[in-house]
């Protein structure tokens, strides 16, 4: 089943077409990757899907409902969570508080509940704590719970960002370069984590540069160049696609291919 359906998506900044006429089907339970050279418009697509940018053309349909141009806080409620390319955390708060922040969107408690310490407020806080700890344990970072998010290693920060996103209980998780800036060994761990996320029934869509990771992980790959789709298919199809090879030729891809 198609969870997210994108048709004719476009974003123009002044005269520049950052993204143009992109179609994409993200199927439920699969891992869909978006790849392309630098500046191909990958992150722009993510910003359009999560509502950070308003598309200038096209539609985005999520779970059969039109969410084109909806604000991020409503798309999160609908079930789309995202992480950022540059790891973005509440650095002065503890790791646990960061993940608890992900529970805000699923909470109903008000100031009055907090001030009067109503039973429903206490129940919800307790439930949120349980859910947050669950997300921390799932991401394998429960022992960092009391550390300040700004002071834990880069790899842990990346995992915290994923735990925060998971705490919002998404159906679709958008990961912007989840393995950016971490070592080869750690990348393997991230691949495993992403597979576990999918095993939990969460659909994943990711932007990534590390070809080896993408090829072994993704069910389907969308290749962008200059903001336009040049190919969409399974990893095997993409590897053989002449247009993709052309787009990557001479780029840092030569060494990546060697790894395969």
């Amino acid at each position: 089943m198609t969870l997210l359906e994108v048709r004719g998506l476009g974003k123009q900044f002044g005269g520049l077409h950052a993204v143009r006429d992109v179609d994409l089907d993200v199927r439920e339970g699969e891992i869909t990757a978006i790849i392309g050279p630098n500046g191909a418009g990958k992150s722009t697509v993510f910003n359009l899907l999560s509502g950070f940018y308003r598309p200038t053309a096209g539609t985005v349909t999520f779970k059969g409902r039109d969410i084109t141009g909806k604000k991020p806080y409503t798309t999160v409620r609908d079930g789309i969570a995202r992480t950022f390319q540059t790891t973005n955390l509440f650095e002065d708060s503890t790791v646990l508080d960061n993940v608890l922040s992900g529970r805000i969107v699923r909470s109903r408690s008000t100031v009055f509940g907090a001030v009067l310490q109503t039973p429903s407020f206490r129940r919800e806080e307790q439930y949120n704590l349980t859910k947050a700890m669950e997300a921390l344990e799932f991401a394998g970072i429960a022992h960092y719970r009391d550390d300040l998010a700004g002071e834990v290693p880069q790899e842990v920060q990346k995992r915290v960002a994923i735990a925060v996103a998971l705490a919002t209980e998404p159906d679709l998780l958008l990961l912007d370069e989840p393995a950016g800036g971490i070592t080869e060994d750690e990348t393997v761990g991230f691949g495993d984590l992403i597979r576990q996320i999918v095993a939990r029934g969460i659909t994943v869509c990711l932007v990534e540069h590390k070809m080896s990771m993408i090829m072994s992980l993704a069910d389907r790959i969308l290749v962008l160049d200059h903001g336009q789709t040049i190919a969409f298919g399974t990893p095997d199809e993409i590897k053989r696609d002449p247009k993709v090879i052309e787009a990557y030729l001479g780029a840092d891809d030569a060494e990546e291919e060697g790894e395969e």
Partner: protein, 337 residues
């Protein structure tokens, strides 16, 4: 975790005890008691500042103005219109909440320095209305003869000590609300906005609406403080709502500690008494106080309470690391094998 809570709770309890026994220790020194009452009144407004600036990270410079609205609603209704203090006080709370919420509609669309400029303009407009709309506000001649709140049973608010405890009760309420907010999802929402609006957005926080609510909450606190101030003073003029007041309140929160539960109380009392100590210097006192405050901002940018909290947290982290080190080593070897 428990260690931190208990140390900080001890600190809060000590401050509370000091505030409760102070008037008895100062028996007969009416002037000092009056000063304490004023500091406590300002501290309530500072709690409002703390919500919008300390927790939400938005510099609102309208506070003196909303404090003034609180003063004038109570002052005018009790004198010119014969309302009882309590109904006028309730009206002050409602008026500041509603005007705050309405201003928040515009504030919702501004960011950072634009928000500061916008709110400063709001504060100044309020001051102009209070000082120039003579037929209603008596302009520069101000309001005199504001009555004390009506007492209950044996409690008579014309007694300075009773008035002090009335203000203290509201101050305790403001501190408790801050404490409750900080520990709840509401506090996390506001802190998320303070840290990064984009990130707050990405986790589903409606940034605009929450900013607006935080602003309305902060103006309501200012209104409560203003209403009490009117009764404490008995005589008020538009200068008690000036933009200068906003900056004094700002100084209180900076000295006490932004975003902390006890910062507003500590800052208000410390600065009020510093002011008093240097009052012989009249308007030159800022020459002495200025450097003190600059030094504080440089060496303890999180204020007195923020500094103490950080100190406690560092000690705790060090202790935790010492305890965890052998355990971590053990778990690592286990992973390897």
């Amino acid at each position: 975790m428990t260690a931190r809570i208990s140390i900080q709770h001890v600190g809060m309890a000590l401050v509370a005890i000091a505030l409760v026994i102070a008037p008895f220790a100062l028996a007969g020194q009416d002037y000092v008691l009056r000063l304490l009452t004023m500091a406590a009144t300002y501290a309530i407004a500072v709690y409002g500042f703390n919500i919008i600036l300390g927790l939400t990270g938005q510099l609102s410079l309208a506070h003196g103005g909303f404090f003034g609205i609180g003063i004038y609603v109570v002052g005018l209704l009790t004198t010119d219109h014969g309302w009882s203090f309590w109904s006028a006080f309730l009206a002050a709370i409602i008026v500041t909440a509603v005007t705050g919420f309405a201003c928040g509609v515009v504030a919702l669309r501004t960011r950072q320095e634009y928000f500061a400029i916008f709110t400063m303009a709001v504060g100044f407009i309020i001051f102009l209305i209070l000082s120039r709309w003579e037929s209603v506000t008596h302009g520069m001649s101000g309001i005199s003869g504001i009555p004390f709140p009506e007492g209950f049973g044996i409690i008579d608010f014309s007694e300075p000590i009773a008035m002090y405890f009335l203000v203290l009760l509201f101050l305790a309420g403001a501190a408790y609300i801050t404490y409750a907010i900080r520990r709840s999802g509401v506090g996390r929402t506001l802190i998320a906005i303070r840290t990064s609006e984009d990130l707050a957005n990405s986790i589903g926080v409606n940034v605009g609406l929450n900013k607006q609510l935080a602003f309305a909450a902060s103006t309501t606190f200012a209104g409560v403080a203003g209403g009490l101030f009117a009764a404490v003073q008995g005589f008020v003029g538009p200068s008690s709502a000036s933009v200068n007041l906003t900056f004094e309140l700002l100084m209180f929160i900076l000295v006490g500690g932004l975003g902390t539960v006890m910062g507003p109380i500590v800052g208000s009392f410390v600065v009020t008494f510093l002011f008093e100590t240097f009052q012989d210097f009249q308007s030159y006192r800022f020459i002495v106080l200025g450097p003190v405050i600059i030094a504080l901002v440089i060496f303890a940018p999180r204020g007195i309470v923020g500094y103490l909290n950080a100190y406690v947290a560092r000690r705790r982290a060090k202790r935790a690391r010492r305890q965890m080190a052998p355990q971590a080593a053990a778990s690592e070897t286990k992973e390897v094998s």
